[in-house]
């Protein structure tokens, strides 16, 4: 984590105090500091870049609207990621409902993926890895993505997932093991 580079910068908790007083620069610093991890968390749940961007924006908006309720019992990032997870899940439920409604109106379901030749041509390795990642249980998926994409420690991941450092480590290694098996087939 880039904790060393932050040592001279104000802490998140100090910035939150400044945000409460209406300091726009403090808002900007917090967004710069956390937008990427929020986006990656949302992307891990939604598996879609545009939706993840929308969910990230909503997450920040909800977090700042509720900033008075942040008491500093957990780290600001933990609190923010909890909001982001809820927001991404809410959006995912909404999209699933819409898809179900649409599919209910169709007589013939799409047949994409039935032709192996087309599948091989269309799907790059990146797409394949993303699909396999999307199939992991949520805690494994988030542990893998937050560890590899964002470099969070197991302690930070555990806190962000309302869990422990040990369980974040186990989820990460199970996720990696499962990815290895699925990507080898």
């Amino acid at each position: 984590m880039a904790e060393d580079s932050r040592s001279a910068s104000p802490t998140d908790e100090e910035l939150v105090q400044r945000v409460r007083k209406g300091d726009e620069r403090a808002v900007n610093v917090l967004v710069d500091r956390h937008h990427s991890v929020v986006f990656r968390t949302c992307a891990a749940i939604l598996s879609d870049e545009d939706l993840a961007a929308d969910a990230s924006q909503n997450s920040f908006l909800k977090a700042f609207r509720a900033i008075e309720r942040f008491r500093g019992e957990a780290a600001f990032q933990t609190w923010l990621l909890a909001i982001a997870r809820n927001e991404a899940r809410r959006l995912l439920r909404k999209i699933k409902r819409r898809r179900e409604d649409r599919l209910g109106d169709l007589d013939i379901l799409p047949t994409v993926g039935n032709d192996p030749l087309v599948e091989v041509t269309l799907r790059s390795d990146v797409q394949r890895v993303r699909e396999v990642l999307a199939d992991l249980p949520e805690k494994q998926r988030l542990s893998v993505t937050l560890r590899i994409f964002e470099g969070l420690s197991f302690r930070e991941i555990g806190e962000s997932l309302d869990s422990t450092e040990g369980s974040a480590r186990v989820n990460y290694h199970h996720g990696i093991q499962r990815l290895r098996e699925l990507l080898e087939t």
């Binding site: 937008h35 992307a43 908006l61 609207r65 008075e68 290895r180 990507l183």
Partner: protein
């Protein structure tokens, strides 16, 4: 290669592929993977996963900032319209908004109470003050005595008048 050694190095690999390891840890990882059979495979897998990361859109941070700043401006306008002088303080605070709403409500209730107090207490029709403001047809017969109010003499005169 011991399992413990591999497990320790595997814990460091995500930071190593991100280039975030300190010099001593980096040396440990390099030395280990040059002689380990399984860890280089893990490195390869982590790199494939890393390549599959959704890139954070370049404009995302500025878009979020714009939304938040716009939100701050809207809250500021509401405070200003309510005649409150919070400045930047509590611009995001729901508590201040609730206070502003309470003040507006209290002012409104006070105004209504004041108007009610200004109405005459007793009108020609008794205790109903609205009857004075909005007179009805009933006002035309206000003050006419009922039969019970008449004296025996007046009642006899009235009966005589009706009876012809």
């Amino acid at each position: 290669m011991t399992k413990t050694e591999c497990a320790d190095v595997k814990d460091l690999l995500p930071q190593w592929i991100r280039g975030e390891l300190g010099e001593s840890d980096r040396a440990v990882v390099l030395q280990h993977i040059s002689s380990c059979a399984s860890c280089p495979e893990e490195v390869e897998l982590l790199r494939r996963i890393q390549a599959a990361a959704f890139s954070t859109p370049a404009s995302l941070a500025s878009e979020i900032k714009s939304v938040l700043v716009a939100e701050m401006a809207v809250v500021g306008e509401i405070e200003s319209d309510a005649g409150l002088e919070y400045g930047w303080v509590g611009r995001f605070g729901g508590r201040q908004l609730a206070t502003a709403a309470a003040v507006v409500l209290a002012l409104g209730a006070g105004l209504i109470w004041q108007r009610m107090q200004a109405l005459p207490e007793v009108g020609p029709l008794g205790q109903d003050p609205f009857a004075v403001v909005w007179p009805s047809d009933d006002a035309d017969v206000a003050g006419v005595p009922t039969l019970e109010d008449l004296s025996a003499e007046d009642l006899a005169l009235l009966l005589e008048e009706f009876g012809g």
